[in-house]
């Protein structure tokens, strides 16, 4: 499932998605992100975050690439956050951002964080310009992460629901 450098990512693929059944909650994605993006061992600088709830629920969350992103709307520093026209993710202008954190509060997924070193917000950019694609996806040894599109994700959810239904029908009454 991990994208090989030889397979180009679809231009429509614009978010890192996580399969919670496969995620083991190890946080290696966070380490990969901080290391590759900032050459830092500090996972507080990661743009992807593992949420781990008792005792079997865990998932990594990065920017969801909302169509009409609330983070951009609430930003009080004119134009510090903007939708990237190429991939629908969020560009952060570090000269304008002052780390006020309104976007962090507003993001419904908790996918925006404040970089403790630069005091500017950081958001997943799919490792723009990195040939091998997002470092987190490459790192995930459980194949829980992939770069995908909302349409592909929706298709998988439908398939999963169908399988659940089939299993239920198979079970003896």
């Amino acid at each position: 499932m991990s994208p090989s450098p030889h397979v180009p990512i679809s231009p429509h693929a614009r978010l890192v998605v996580c399969d919670p059944d496969l995620c083991v909650g190890c946080q290696l994605c966070e380490f990969a992100c901080a290391s590759v993006k900032d050459n830092s061992a500090n996972i507080l600088r990661s743009r992807i975050r593992v949420m781990r709830q008792e005792p079997i629920l865990m998932i990594s969350i990065a920017c969801r690439g909302c169509e009409d992103p609330v983070c951009v709307k609430v930003c009080p520093r004119d134009g510090a956050l903007a939708v990237n026209p190429d991939n629908s993710l969020i560009d952060v202008d570090n000269d304008k951002c002052d780390g006020c954190g309104w976007c962090i509060d507003a993001c419904p997924f908790g996918a925006i964080v404040l970089d403790p070193e630069t005091k500017r917000v950081i958001i997943c950019d799919l490792c723009a310009g990195r040939d091998a694609g997002p470092a987190c996806v490459e790192m995930c040894s459980k194949d829980a992460l992939e770069v995908s599109t909302p349409a592909v994700v929706a298709g998988k959810v439908s398939q999963s629901a169908l399988r659940t239904l089939m299993d239920a029908l198979d079970e003896p009454a």
Partner: protein, 607 residues
Amino acid sequence: MNGYTGKALIIDLTERKSEEIELSQSMLRAYLGGSGLAVRLLYDHLAPGVDPLEPGNVIVFACGVFAGTIVPAAAKHSVATKSPLTGMLGDAMAGSFFSHTLKRAGYDAVVILGRADTPVYVFIDDHTVYFRDARALWGQECFATEEAIREELGDEAVRVSAIGTAGENLVRFACIGNDRGRQAGRTGPGAVMGSKNLKAIAVRGSGAVAVADNDAVYQTSCDLITQAQGPATGKYREPGTVGNVLTLNRLGVLPVRNFQRTALDEAEGISGETLHRRHHEKTVACAACPIACEQVMKVAEGSHAGARVSVDYETLFALGPCCDVDDLPAVIRAAELCDTLGMDTLSTGVTLAWAMEAAERGLLPPDDGVDLRFGNADAMVAMILKIARREGLGEILAEGSRLAAQEVGKDSDYFAIHSKGLELPGYDPRGMKTYALGLAVGTRGGCHNRSLAYEPDLKGKVDRFKAEKGRGQIAMAQEDVAVLLDSLGICKFMRGCFTDLHEEGARLYSQATGWDVSAQELVEAGERISNLKKMFNVREGWTRELDSLPPRLMQEPIPDGPGKGVSLPPAELELLVSDYYEARGWTAEGEVAPATQDRLGLSGQTA
């Protein structure tokens, strides 16, 4: 300082105050971290001869060297104290996120002294320490305590090490739970926390652990992560260590019915494969671990419906074959109870097996409503609760098999399966002679994990049925590898991913710290730490007769299976133990010889 924070936190519960101390480069290089650092700090802060459950005892938590960094499967922390179960070195380890977080809070170790006058928990919020009222938490289970503290502090990122009812009630094999399913399990550190009125340690760490060469550490880690997807870790990924049931049964070293037998006639029903197939719900990993060995099992239906816990081999052995219980849902329920009440599953199971045998022989007083006998899963589950609450027979069993047998008398110590008071793990030492030696001389008591001496036996590198000279050297080398991994904080399940642990470990250590450390230095560090552990025990009154095994295993030959007829008479064990002392450079009486102390920089430290 790179790799390390260079600081330890000293917490005095009696005075409710704390202070930071500096850890020097020379000390850290000599004792690394994890187990080595914990034992060093314990040795320095503990007055010899104190009762383990009195305020004078000390508990040390120490992070592995690479905690807080991307180095894979290196998230172990060590807990060292004077053990209430053995009276010797208490030496437990746990994985998951606690060590990463503690280190990011700014500490390589925490040393806990004294006793609080009322129940407290300590909250280490980066560099600020709070003593918080834990009276409302007293009586709560391990995981419930974790959740309650996170709720109270309002932060999901807070990591908690907590005790349950068993620790509060001073059950001598009480453990410390952390991260919703991991335990510093053995030798009873939970009871020491209970004796100190310390319900939990909560940590929030928002800093970063700096490494000297981030690119190099990242690349080395990526290589190790790739290795960890290969055959070296295959069995840990699926079905997990529980796969050992069938392997050990085939080899005739699976202890059954309190070590009365060494194989099951029908092992399939209680095997790890069956457990996995019927009950596996989710695979979980510790921090930065690419293996993910933790297999959460769940019972869907029947009287134990809803039971959910991760199960590893030792747990399955102790609560399964050792008690002759073949009811997997009951084993899952029993393991869940042990984890939530905060008791070591291994000591619990093996102590219960002793009690079942004693009860069948008519040596135990009857207990209201609990009919202890082999195979009675309901009695096992019921008695676990009574142990944690010290009710009825539980009052005796909460003391562990050694003290319980002393209390009951009538030669019941003949079948109390422990060494130095620590109940044995799930391998029969009669059919594994190198391992038998490792168990007998272990500083924390009978333990496979500290000795690693089962490896040459099971891998066929030696004749496992034979006791001979030369095993001392092998057992020593294995033990020093184990202590090195425990001190680096690297999980033992990673060991197959290194071609040369000392070379590659030294390279990684140098990349992280920026210090130029050689493979030889790591070899010596392992040896130094093993010797310091021994010196700790000697200071606490160790004598040679403690380096022994249970009478049953030295008097009865293996009754069945592939090893049938093989025995381990005392003279044979003596030969092995003497050979080990010689290999270590110890005196014939087993004390660390002055020349050995000098060579390792340990001289002048015996009280």
